[in-house]
Amino acid sequence: MSIDDEHSTGDTVTAASSPAESDANEFDDWLGVPLDLVRDCADLSKHRSDISSQSFEEIFAAEELLPIVTELDENTSALLNQGAATQVVELGQISQVSTPTPSSPCHDLNPADQQATAQDSYYVDTLYNAESTSETQSQQSTSAPQGTKPVRTRAKRDLTETEISCAAQNLIQGDSIKFFINNYQLIHEGWISLPTGTASLTSTSPNELIVAAFDTLDNLRYHQGITRLVKRFAYVHLIHAINIHKAAARKDRCHSHTPREPGHGDTTIAIDTYLGAKGTNGLSRAQLLEHIRKGTRWYILSEPHLIMLSLYTARAETIMYVSPFQ
């Protein structure tokens, strides 16, 4: 059975008839949840936005592209005071000024937001004033108008609330009820991998657990018909295993059983544990780090319940391939 993320044909599914179909009242209090709650929550399509085909790689890349004004020049201040169509984003205490992309409705701000953010823009982090680079100086000489201050063009900013909302709409399945019906078997198969893992938590040492979690992820590459959802479960399981290993390492450290070199955190210890057990027959350190990075991202998205992973579209996969170091 293949998972059908965004092009599921739920209406054509003919699931095996069940006793439930002959008795509608049987599910009126299913798991303590009234049926009308199921009815209300089933459809996410109203939240779904088809206006953007951006991948998250592109969305996150946009965080890097907007210019930062290290000190508000007279022209910028005048624009802000006039309420011009200028988007100002606060990052900590750093003020940033950018021009919105006309084609993207996610960049629209209402006048109240513009005024509020414009007021925020006057809190300028003086640290950035001292960090002007040769790159920014050269760009200033070619593009900045006379009288403006140095501009950093590759500074990072957070997405605005509006952009977050827009991006989140592209994260979710259009029709969660149809998706669940079509893929319940896969959800079950993915989910039972965790109880199996949970059983091993009680019977396996943290070191063995780490090795097994990495190996599980690695082995998924060789399985036919492995779906995105099963991989998502495996990534989250890896983070669970690492957390258990971290707790054990922390306990060990507190009791000073193991001397630790400076710069060796719990994650490093976990990776060393795997490399020590597998030697050159296993994954490389870079591959392990990459697994942990992706797993951490899936772990965040899976909160508070693992089954949340089934909500996310194929487009959510693109989040995992965006390196924070680019």
């Binding site: 069940s18 599910f27 969660s176 319940h305 989040i319």
Partner: protein, 62 residues
Amino acid sequence: MTTLEALAAEVRQLNPELIHLFEKLSQDVELSMGSNAVHAIPHIQSTIIQVRDALLLHKQHR
């Protein structure tokens, strides 16, 4: 809060009822795990099929 955390929070805000449904499902499954998780597997399957049937029923009546 990182961008990813903000995105996850936004997704949770989109439909609180659905999250509540998932919460009930998760609690039922986690409770069934108990001390011997492997034995909970049939129960998980049964619970998920229950959910599927409830949702199918809803689709037919809609």
